[in-house]
């Protein structure tokens, strides 16, 4: 039993190493920047995954581009801009607030406000009855 567990753990560790060491960087800062970017950028084909979680053809190419740009010393903003120009707002895993999606960001608070207000109006109106 112990043997199998050890074997299992060995395989597990191989897997982890393999997925980390594909890209090599000169500084830990660059590596951190790369990791951050592939986390916030979305895979255009798979849509529910970010680049780091996807190995589709397009994702691999985009990761390679991010890697090259990070090594060339480009800033997060420059790289994100490059992606947005080609794939649109969609490429960001978490969309930025803009006038097109303002409703999505404000709607929950708006609904909460409406619900609370109507509750209080109802409550005040029925206060007498409730106390009886």
């Amino acid at each position: 039993m112990k043997k199998y567990v050890t074997l299992f753990l060995i395989f597990l560790s191989f897997y982890t190493f393999a997925s980390v060491d594909v890209y090599e960087f000169e500084t830990p800062e660059q590596e951190a920047q790369f990791r951050h970017l592939i986390d916030v950028l979305r895979c255009p084909t798979c849509q529910n995954q970010n680049l780091s979680g996807s190995n589709s053809l397009v994702s691999e190419d985009l990761k390679q581009i991010v890697y090259e740009k990070v090594k060339a010393g480009e800033s997060d903003q420059e790289i994100v801009q490059f992606m947005k120009k080609r794939y649109g707002e969609f490429i960001l895993f978490e969309p930025e607030v803009s006038k097109d999606n303002l409703i999505l960001w404000t709607a929950p608070f708006l609904f909460l406000f409406i619900a609370l207000t109507s509750f209080f109006i109802w409550y005040r109106k029925n206060k007498g009855e409730l106390n009886e």
């Binding site: 084909t45 397009v58 190419d61 985009l62 581009i65 120009k85 080609r86 794939y87 649109g88």
Partner: protein, 180 residues
Amino acid sequence: MITKMLKALSVLLLFLGFIGLFYWALSHDSTELPSQLIDGPVPEFSVNDLMQPESMLTPEIFQGKISLLNVWASWCAACYTEHPYWEEYAKLDDLQIIGLNYNDKKEKALNFLETQGNPYEKILFDVKGRVGIEFGVYGAPETFLIDPKGKVRYRHVGIVSPEVFQDKLMPLIEKIKLGF
């Protein structure tokens, strides 16, 4: 009595509103992404022609002609289904059919053309997939309609069936011919 009716009516309206919302949300294909290039110039590129490796292709090739740029690859299953349609569209006058061989191996791409036919006047050989990324390609097949000034007018993701060609592309091609 009236308040009761108003209440019932508001519930009905809310219900219909939700039905409308769900209908819209479900009939709307959320996997199709809008192209960032529409009404903008074709992105810069400079790649070899798959068939004539000695000649370089640049956005110049779109000047003065109405073009359809079809993104294809030998690994793309839907491209085999789509291919016979391109043979038909290639017969049309005043239309230049350009291929973009995306992320492919040369031998495989050539083999595809040998077995399936070659409807393309020119083929961008995008071995690294970088031209595809410039065009915002996220899968194959994809097709771009490009006007004689080199402006991207439309992008279709998926197979360009005769229906798509008639309903989506033809009206735009007619418009471009009229000078718009």
